[in-house]
């Protein structure tokens, strides 16, 4: 959900992150594009508005935001990180056919395991892979027409 500059500014200040035009814009981009964008997508999306933007800045900004807990880094694919403004626990489903990454609710906290009794858990990640409903329809049609 898109948030106002005032809200975003407040969030950055609360986390002691210095204010800058680039950081606000990256943060805003993530609130508008909740589809787990890549660095390239963020960079290209903002490049129109901010022609001087450097990709290095996008990387360093995302790194700072992740350290502060304002964004989450998703490493489902081996080749490219994705970024998520939703930091509350939820699972991710990646469709191997169309590449879309879906959110899903899951009670990850219910997975308490005796094996990790003495471990200090800081971060929990859950992701599934497979085929999404939209792509399943396409596959069924393809097999019918054979």
């Amino acid at each position: 959900m898109k948030r106002s500059y005032e809200e975003l500014t407040k969030e950055l200040k609360m986390k002691n992150i210095r204010l800058s035009h680039q950081r606000l814009k990256v943060l805003e981009y993530l609130t508008i594009h909740m589809d787990h964008p890549t660095v390239d997508q963020i960079y290209n999306g903002l490049h129109k508005e901010i022609p001087t933007l450097s990709k290095t800045t996008v990387y360093s900004t995302l790194s700072a935001l992740a350290d502060a807990g304002l964004v989450r880094i998703i490493n489902i694919e081996d080749n490219e990180a994705r970024y998520d403004i939703r930091v509350a626990d939820h699972g991710h489903f990646k469709c191997e056919s169309c590449g879309t990454i879906y959110d899903f609710q899951a009670n990850i906290d219910s997975l308490t395991t005796v094996d990790l009794k003495r471990f200090d858990i800081k971060d929990k990640n859950l992701y599934f892979k497979g085929c999404c409903p939209t792509c399943l329809v396409g596959k069924n049609e393809a097999s019918l027409s054979k």
Copy 2:
């Protein structure tokens, strides 16, 4: 657990994977080293025995074994994939201090979610990050001596 060549050969034949010295050795390496090794570790470990081994072969072999479901690729870290001979569902805990990746039991199937009712789920992954008991001891001692 280490398995005999006969067992490993049988597993490859069952999956219709052509037999080769390199493939058997990679598979054997994974049964001996269950600590989720990287490609580099596998390559260096086998290089002594097989001086002609190529890193490309390690990659292609692991890719073939993963396609056949004989090994699992773990993408916890953004920079380097790790490989696991344990294909049964289990979770991974990565200690951010020492880098060790621990296995833990977790009933991942209990996480059925209504959000994925119509999805075809092929693969489930669960991983946590934090600090392991061994490293926690070191941290406590460090804070005491301050």
